[in-house]
Amino acid sequence: MAKTFLNWPVLRQLTGSDVLGRGAAAKSARSEELTARTSTADRVARSVCPYCAVGCGQRIYVKDEQIVQIEGDPDSPISRGRLCPKGSASKNLLTSPMRQTTVRYRRPYGTEWEELDLDTAMEMIADRVVSTRRETWQDEDEDGHRVRRTMGIASLGGATLDNEENYLIKKLFTALGAIQIENQARI
């Protein structure tokens, strides 16, 4: 009993060398057995926080093909290992129970979502792009200017995406003649 009493962390902190209570004084048999998820991960990817434009470095730890932890990257001269509440929660961005992982489809006049497989959805979207483009095509505008475009298709969004993605989006839409292509930079 005396032994247990003497083993109280606060007593160890006051009497031992770890006066700040951040080392040996705070350890227990249980904490001795714990290992950080970061040390048992299969691999780590060097990444960047997806929220604001500061561009904080992240290290993403993966074990058994699951993300087990996201930490700030201490090597980053921008962030020096720090993450804000959003960056610290970014594992939850990917693992949230609300995350959509299947296609959802709402037919015209529908009152509920329906399931749809991805390949079918892609075929349907490609069909609609082709037909809407055909139906709304303008070789010339009202003033007789040659414009070669469709005003029937618009797109919005890009600031959360990669440069490579924005590049392909603009390239494809430009070739299709869709010009109403916008993103968060306009707002």
Binding site: L94, R99, S155, G157, G158, A159, A175, Q180, I187
Partner: protein, 862 residues
């Protein structure tokens, strides 16, 4: 900054620890205010009056950094004698046409260069196409040196014009307009000027709420004038730093998903100005005899077209210039949404953006989506823009009936940042490569996957077509290598194309100066050339910060040419010596005959400070050894902007469109050139010059909380963040709470001519009533993160806003409006519509009449 960009703010704290003074100017008290040395609340929408007051202080006391100003700005340049200022014209500049509400810029030009102005009839077109966004990066186009007076005494030199223009922005006027007491204002003036000059620099940091005003571009311009006058541009610790809010919003501007731009700030052609390839190049600054780096616009244009249409793009067919679709006016997101309501737009893609919550006038956004044929939403979650047909406020009021709404909706799950590889460009133009940590789950896919395969499938459907309209699609260079179980295209191959390479050998270009006009090279975004120099993905470099100096040139890659501070030639004096030991950054090494220093010099590396451009020189050769602002045609930082701004060459205080006050400085009330959409669903509350301003007696502004992200699509669906900030609220001062009977933590609702929304009341002394023009003005503040989806739900603040745009860049005024605040929850269903209709009626917002935009008789009829 501490609120919305907390990790960036660590450097401000670091500076404070070394003795820096931090001043925070904001209508709302934030985590930044809590740490700042001085917090200066001001009336929302009066920043130009505030900054104009500081400019006046600098000029009155001659506190400008004269040597810098003379050498590196256009202070000494002489403006046309036909120029007339706002003092003479009640708030308008010379050249104003009352019918088109546009300016003829002829009288704003440098003396003797009046023919350089854009023809007057084109400025309306420019407003419609946001062309100043082009000028933002292209600068003034000039073919010779403008006349100068180095004594700065000539009455029409820029310095004297500036002095006269801001003379009425006295400390007393600032106090009257902004609600900032004279003594506090003077303290800011003293701190800013005393900390600027040879030995010291001051940084101006803004967040992009600054751009969300009907005079947003001129806000930034006012900051630029001040920072140029004080010698704070192109120098360490100085500058104007925009804190942008999305991980790659800089990248999506550089490689734009924007209607009026092509990659690298090349312009989308319009038939009026760009009938031919040659006209397109010349309009971008690539004409014969043009000065500066835009003189090479032909190389940039050819390389982009070549990247788009590959071997089909040849010199004989102008590299398929004809394949580019043409813009003919305003095709911005707000115009498109109104066109959806009018049934003109049929199909809509939403790519990680949630306009039902995030864009101004949420109701217009949702009614637009409810009138489409089809909508594709690509997101991580079922955001409001995907589910508007079943749970939006309009379903509650009966304005959208699911059984009657024909929009077909595809919600496709997207891959998250860890589940794909690629680059983000952060707010200081730095590209950082992200490694892929793991495969995305289920049907989740990257945009790279979606668009590559969509393009492939559309091309399959059009294969064999003989229709000319399908040539641009079929001839497109669209053969990226794919890999893995889902046939994911290679992001690195795309980045390689963006960087550019030699067509014959595939050798990546090291610099955009290697781009050729004959089709032997291609490159998708000239300003990004170098990110793949030596065949190495430079954006993936991760040499630890601790192993590098403070500039950390080996972490990521910054455009252009890995340069960290733009225009850093200005960190040295005209002779090329550092302005001071303390502020040494780049300098001329006489022995080696080259520029050197801590950063990549933003200058031709071997061009001596003493170099003087020979008469008749063109292109980069025409820039002299002390022309630090190399993207400007005259090599000078523009205090006065002769070309490219649609609302005037100098920032001028106009009231917000919705304002409780008359403009105290001029008869002209609000920006006379603003873009309005006058439609029944887009009624604006009365402005200070109109009747019935008492119906909406309070000012409101909106902004962010640390724990949420913009429209909430990346935060309200997360457990931790939802728990940290669980509920929509409206922050008010005790005085306003008293006046309206609001109870802390009780409910209130906020009403405008568009909507009424509710939230919990938060009564704090952080919001202070201000004294403006002898009256007390109450300001309310709302976060704009909530909607009907997610783990925590609430009304959307952006529903309160109408749509009125800055004429230069077509960004909405969403950081200031007027409102009423009432106790209790808002009504439901039809009663909600009735409440808003009643407010409109009381405010006189009925029928086909709208208040006048022009509130002065000046300007000319056509």
């Amino acid at each position: 900054m501490a609120e919305a960009h907390p990790v960036g703010f660590q450097w401000v704290v670091e500076a404070m620890n070394r003795g820096a003074t931090v001043i925070h100017v904001d209508p709302r008290f934030t985590r930044t205010s809590a740490l700042a040395d001085e917090y200066v609340p001001l009336r929302a929408g009066t920043d130009i009056a505030f900054l104009g007051g500081i400019i006046n202080y600098v000029l009155t006391h001659e506190l400008d950094f004269r040597e810098y100003v003379l050498a590196y700005t256009n202070a000494a340049s002489i403006i046309s004698e036909d120029f007339q200022d706002t003092d003479d014209l009640e708030g308008l500049f010379s050249g104003f046409n009352r019918e088109t509400r546009t300016y003829d810029e002829t009288s704003w030009q440098y003396a003797g260069r009046e023919d350089h102005a854009e023809p007057a009839q084109e400025t309306k077109q420019e407003r419609q196409t946001a062309q100043p966004l082009q000028h933002e990066s292209h600068g003034i186009s000039l073919q010779d040196e403008p006349p100068r007076d180095d004594t700065l005494q000539h009455p029409n030199c820029v310095y004297q014009i500036l002095k006269r223009h801001y003379a009425r922005y006295t400390p007393e006027m600032v106090a009257e307009t902004c609600g900032v007491p004279v003594e506090q204002f003077l303290e800011v003036c003293r701190a800013w000027t005393e900390n600027s000059g040879r030995d010291r620099t001051t940084a101006l940091v803004y967040s992009v709420g600054w751009t969300q005003h009907s005079v947003g571009v001129q806000y930034i311009r006012a900051g630029a004038i001040l920072q140029l006058l004080l010698g704070n541009m192109g120098r360490p610790g100085g500058g104007i730093l925009a804190l942008r809010g999305h991980a790659s919003i800089q990248g999506s501007t550089d490689i734009p998903t924007l209607f009026n731009l092509l990659p690298g700030y090349l312009v989308m052609p319009n038939p009026a100005d760009h009938g031919s390839f040659r006209e397109w190049i010349e309009d971008m600054g690539g004409g014969a005899g043009a000065k500066g780096f835009w003189a090479n616009a032909e190389a940039y244009g050819v390389n982009l077209l070549k990247a788009y249409w590959g071997e089909k793009a040849t010199a004989d067919n102008d590299f398929c210039f004809d394949y580019l679709p043409r813009i003919t006016g305003d095709h911005g997101t707000y115009r498109s949404v109104l066109d959806m309501i009018d049934g003109k737009v049929k199909g809509y893609f939403l790519l990680g953006q949630n306009p039902a919550v995030g864009s101004a006038h949420g109701k217009a956004q949702r009614l637009g989506m409810a009138n489409l044929d089809w909508l594709v939403v690509r997101d991580l979650f079922e955001i409001e823009s995907a589910s508007f047909w079943k749970n939006s406020p309009e379903v509650e009021t009966g304005e959208i009936v699911p059984e009657e709404c024909a929009t077909e909706v595809f919600l496709l799950p997207a891959a998250g940042h860890a589940e794909k590889e690629g680059t983000f460009t952060q707010t200081q133009r730095m590209l950082q490569w992200r490694e892929k940590a793991l495969e995305p789950p289920g049907d989740c896919r990257s945009e790279l996957w979606f668009f590559y395969h969509l393009g492939r499938m559309v091309r399959e459907r059009l294969a064999g077509s003989t229709d000319a309209r399908d040539r641009p699609v079929l001839d497109l260079a669209w053969d990226y290598p794919v890999d893995g179980p889902h046939e994911e295209p290679s992001a690195e191959a795309v980045l390689r194309e963006i960087n550019g390479y030699e067509v014959a050998t595939g050798r990546p270009l090291a610099s955009f100066t290697e781009m050729r006009t004959d089709g032997s090279t291609l490159g998708g975004c000239w300003i990004y050339t170098g990110v793949f120099a030596d065949g190495v993905n430079q954006a993936a470099r991760r040499k630890p910060g601790s192993e590098q100096g403070p500039v950390a040139l080996e972490w990521g890659w910054v455009w252009p040419a890995n340069r960290r501070i733009l225009y850093n030639r200005a960190s040295a004096d005209p002779e090329g010596r550092p302005w001071s030991e303390r502020k040494a950054y780049v300098w001329w090494d006489e022995e080696q005959g080259r520029w050197t220093g801590h950063d990549v010099p933003d200058f031709e590396v071997a061009k001596s400070p003493s170099y003087r451009a020979p008469a008749g020189a063109s292109g980069v050769e025409a820039l002299s050894g002390d022309d630090a602002f190399i993207m400007m045609g005259d090599g000078k930082g523009a205090l006065f902007v002769p070309q490219g701004l649609l609302d005037g060459p100098l920032p001028t205080h106009y009231e917000p469109v919705e304002s409780l006050f008359r403009n105290p400085l001029y008869a002209q009330q609000a920006n006379p050139t603003r873009l309005e959409y006058r439609r029944e669903e887009n009624r604006m509350n009365p402005g200070g010059a109109d009747a019935h301003t008492d119906v909406f007696p309070f000012v409101f502004t909106t902004s962010r909380l640390t724990e949420h992200h913009t429209a909430g699509g990346m935060s309200r669906y997360l457990q931790y963040l939802s728990e940290l900030q669980p509920e929509m609220f409206v922050e008010v001062s005790p005085a306003l709470a008293e006046e309206r009977g609001l109870e802390h933590l009780g409910w209130c609702h906020v009403v405008t001519a568009r909507a009424a929304i509710e939230g919990r009341v938060m009564v704090t002394e952080r919001l202070r009533p201000l004294r403006v023009e002898g009256r007390t003005v109450h300001q309310a503040w709302l976060p704009y993160h909530w909607g009907s989806g997610g783990m925590v739900t609430g009304d959307s603040a952006n529903d309160l806003l109408g749509i009125v745009l800055d004429p230069n860049v077509l960004i909405q005024e969403s950081k200031v409006g007027t409102c009423d605040v009432r106790s209790g929850r808002r009504p439901r269903g039809q009663a909600l519509l009735d409440l808003v209709a009643e407010y409109r009626r009381r405010a006189g917002l009925v029928g086909a009449t709208y208040p006048p935009v022009l509130t002065t008789g000046k300007g000319t009829e056509q």
